[in-house]
């Protein structure tokens, strides 16, 4: 067999019904790169129309990419693809996790795992290089993710990585996660593993990823990225406070390192984050002090260190030691980032009481909630779990729909008293599907239908529901108006696309951002100053396409789209320009094949269009414009006293947004009336077989 560079060269197929494990070559998926691309191709080809998420016929694909495990920075992402249970059509969705799992899978020799069928007993998949077996999981079935991970790691060794579900996944809660490394979670697909009775996947590999490049080519690229291009978390390229080296600063930047700010609970005493200037490669890891950014100043003294994923210099996971957590029956150690901490705060919608000192309530609620949710494996639907609780409670709906005994058994007094102990009761009910309240774990669309949530729910600007399909805004109209809005319309769950928001939030002045955008789409009019939006134009449509396909590219390579692409740089000497061809440079060095930015973008366009085709198939309609791409009314009706395109508002205009959709469909080569991919475009992208299948299903636009 020829030596494979970048790609491991084979993938695993695990049939749980038959207990059969086989391998097959990755080469048939090469046009789809890896990760997300493999996932969509497998689901399109192999999961019949009409299949539901928890059906035995559904499959779930864990896939990584040719750059995973290569040593390229920020490359240890695992893309998980399957039908998405919280979506009303169970249309396809992706969930992603960082950590070490992705790299271990490559080191074991695999680019992907396709899980199919259903076991008749709890099992876990043990991958130890070439030795792949299904093992009895009866001893960990019913356990939380922490116990499961500890027990399976004790079998496989501490150099393994365990991806597991908690009780929420076992119980097929729609909003459940798959998690590795105790804090790196992929939201939304835990129940799929539960439905297949697959508790966990443990993987250990000790091979290398073959690199085609000679000598120090890869090291040179790494050094170039580290010195000249990389900023902080979300590729923010200016510090959050004025610093001598920096021309610009921005309070919203995640480049939060500064003099006097420490990892206060570090072993051996506090470590100062300090000035971690652009170009200082040895201090890149200090730049992102996310603990205080996410949790407030109280978190500084509990921060042991900032952690993160394999091969990532940006440490965005706060690792805390909070002794007081033991009084809540929890480990004092907790780690997470962003939504993992924000979500429990949303559940505590009445506020947070101080625990040990003034102002620390938010941090305690976040840490307690993250610890519980991550053990049970409960997902939050990007924060809507707390929103749905708030609406049901404050509207009085729970008093009507919950049996009186159940309603009275819920410790609402703790919620009212702002006591984080409420979270202990709350997450248990969700994970174990206890009573009517537990339907919150079904997801927004399903609970709104079940409990007859009305317009005051769907169209509430404070709730931020983006789509009637039951997912919230996730960098939408507040992120360059129509461009963020378009991005938010295109997937079957919250858009997890950070390409655009990272540029908008980079901290650079608008003129520099406009120059950069002009180089990407041909005009500075593709971007507006924040909250000062103008009507739609073709350049915004191009920018939306650019942002989405870069996202699909990263989820296929697999690189972290919270960090990539390197659109801008922290260096004045580069005029703050990044390098959008960097992915292709890494691909060329790692695989030995000649990749360009254009060739990779074309592959990513193929992958995104396949996602669209899959959505058409899953929803059994070509009318994407009306059935899929709509948004809730608050987007157009907020700020009632001022018109759209007035400085200070991000409200959108209904007619303008229809123009935006038409322009975007045109950019994608999709049918401008329906938004469905045309045969011509599918064939241009090498997806003729997809067109043929859609034609058989009568799902090609006229």
């Amino acid at each position: 067999m020829n030596k494979s560079y970048g790609w491991a060269g084979k993938l695993l197929r695990v049939n749980l019904t038959a207990g059969k494990i086989t391998t097959e070559p990755t080469s048939k998926y090469k046009d789809f790169i890896g990760g997300m691309g493999i996932g969509y191709k497998v689901i399109f080809d192999e999961v019949p129309a009409g299949t539901k998420a928890f059906d035995e016929a559904n499959k779930i694909v864990f896939a990584v990419g040719p750059l995973t495990g290569s040593g390229a920075p920020s490359s240890s992402r695992t893309n998980i693809t399957s039908l998405f249970p919280s979506n009303p059509y169970n249309a396809v969705g992706d969930s992603h996790m960082g950590g070490n799992f992705a790299a271990q899978l490559k080191y074991a020799g695999y680019d992907a795992i396709i899980i199919e069928g259903k076991s008749n007993r709890p099992v876990w998949l043990k991958i130890d290089n070439d030795k792949v077996t299904l093992e009895d999981a009866s001893k960990v079935w019913g356990k939380g993710i922490k116990d499961t991970t500890a027990q399976l790691a004790s079998v496989m060794g501490k150099d393994s990585s365990i991806a597991a579900i908690g009780q929420a996944g076992e119980n097929m809660v729609n909003l459940s996660v798959i998690m590795n490394g105790l804090s790196h979670s992929a939201g939304g697909h835990g129940g799929i593993l539960g439905s297949k009775m697959l508790k966990a996947i443990g993987v250990r590999g000790n091979r290398a990823v073959n690199i085609a490049g000679k000598g120090r080519e890869l090291l040179k690229l790494n050094n170039y990225m580290m010195k000249d291009l990389i900023g902080a978390n979300n590729q923010h390229v200016v510090p959050s406070t004025p610093q001598p080296w920096a021309e610009f600063s921005h309070k919203g930047s995640r480049w939060t390192a500064r003099e006097g700010l420490t990892w206060g609970a570090a072993e051996g005493g506090p470590i100062e984050t300090g000035i971690a200037a652009a170009g200082d490669v040895n201090r890149v890891g200090y730049r992102t002090m996310k603990a205080t950014f996410d949790l407030g100043p109280s978190a500084e003294k509990y921060t042991v260190r900032m952690g993160g994923c394999q091969s990532c210099p940006i440490r965005c996971m706060s690792q805390l030691r909070i002794p007081k957590l033991e009084e809540y029956g929890l480990s004092p150690y907790v780690a997470n980032s962003c939504m993992g901490y924000f979500s429990p705060q949303r559940v505590m919608f009445k506020g947070n009481k101080d625990i040990e000192e003034k102002g620390d309530g938010k941090m305690f609620a976040a840490a307690i909630g993250a610890s519980l949710a991550d053990d049970y494996g409960v997902w939050c639907n990007y924060g809507l779990l707390g929103t749905d609780l708030k609406h049901g409670y404050e509207s009085g709906i729970f008093k009507k729909v919950l049996p009186a005994d159940e309603y009275n058994s819920i410790p609402w007094n703790l919620l009212e008293e702002k006591d984080p102990a409420f979270l202990i009761d709350f997450y248990r009910r969700i994970a174990f599907k206890e009573g009517e309240l537990a339907h919150l774990g079904d997801g927004a669309y399903w609970v709104a239908k079940r409990w007859d949530f009305g317009d005051d729910y769907w169209n509430n600007v404070k709730y931020g529901l983006w789509s009637k399909l039951g997912f919230p805004k996730h960098h939408s109209n507040e992120t360059n108006g129509q461009v963020g809005s378009l991005i938010s319309c295109m997937f079957n769950r919250d858009a997890q696309s950070h390409t655009l928001v990272n540029l908008v939030g980079s901290g650079l002045p608008i003129e520099i951002q406009k120059e950069v955008v002009a180089e990407i789409v041909g005009s500075p009019d593709g971007i507006d100053p924040q909250l000062n939006y103008t009507p739609m134009n073709e350049y915004k449509a191009r920018l939306a396409k650019w942002a989405i396909i870069k996202n699909c590219l990263h989820d296929s390579l697999t690189l972290c789209n919270w960090m990539w692409p390197m659109t801008v740089s922290p260096h004045k000497s580069r005029n703050y320009r990044g390098d959008l061809a960097l992915e292709s440079k890494f691909m060329t060095v790692v695989t030995g094949e000649n990749y360009t930015e254009q060739s990779l973008d074309l592959a990513a366009e193929r992958i995104f269009t396949l996602h669209r085709a899959l959505t058409v198939k899953n929803m059994n309609t070509v009318d994407m414009r009306n059935e899929h791409d709509g948004m809730t009314d608050w987007v157009f009706d907020k700020d009632p006293d001022i018109k759209a395109f007035t400085p200070g508002t991000d409200k959108m205009d209904r007619e303008d947004m229809q123009v935006a959709l038409t322009m975007f469909y045109k950019e994608m080569g999709w049918d401008e009336k329906t938004g469905a991919p045309t045969r011509a475009t599918l064939e241009r992208l090498g997806l003729g077989d997809v067109a043929n299948q859609l034609a058989k299903l009568n799902l090609l636009p006229a």
Partner: protein
């Protein structure tokens, strides 16, 4: 020359300008006439093109662009050469113009301003009271954070929306 260059670079690294008056007082044990000559040479030499001069009302200041940005140097130059109200107002005007965005009052508690709450309250009052700074306006986010903006470059609605995003919105959409 090497001693002066090193002194300027080291000062820039820690966020400080070097003043001509300090050098003339003999801080580097170099005679005053020699200082003038060396500074002229440094400013005209290609090899030390990173050294920049800022000429104030009563003194001149030096920094290295290898270690200090022009923007930071401008602020600390103004802190030395102008009153604090004008320095803060100009800082706010610049941010309102180039980003555009309102400026959090708490920025002025940090380097290089380092003002405490009471000082900031007094400075704010003086800015509000002076015609020279009548374009400088105050706006609050819903969490109570105070921001300043220049109404020459930004409307109140725009400023309010932007500070609300930084203080509250970004954490609802992380």
């Amino acid at each position: 020359m090497k001693r002066i260059l090193e002194h300027i670079k080291n000062s820039s690294k820690v966020g400080e300008l070097v003043s001509k008056s300090e050098l003339l007082k003999g801080s580097l044990e170099i005679e005053a006439p020699e200082i003038e000559k060396l500074l002229a040479e440094i400013l005209s030499s290609e090899e030390s093109s990173d050294i920049k001069e800022l000429i104030g009302m009563t003194d001149s200041f030096y920094y290295s662009t290898d270690y200090m940005s022009d923007a930071y140097a401008e602020v600390i130059f103004k802190l030395k050469d102008e009153n604090i109200e004008k320095t803060i107002s100009d800082y706010v005007r610049k941010e309102s113009k180039i980003y555009p965005r309102p400026t959090a009052l708490e920025v002025f508690k940090l380097n290089p301003f380092k003002k405490n709450d009471q000082e900031l309250e007094e400075i704010s009052k003086r800015i509000e009271a002076s015609d020279e700074f009548k374009d400088i306006q105050k706006v609050l986010a819903s969490n109570g954070a105070v921001y300043l903006y220049s109404d020459i470059h930004m409307t109140k609605g725009h400023a309010r929306g932007l500070c609300e995003w930084v203080e509250v919105g970004q954490f609802e959409n992380p």
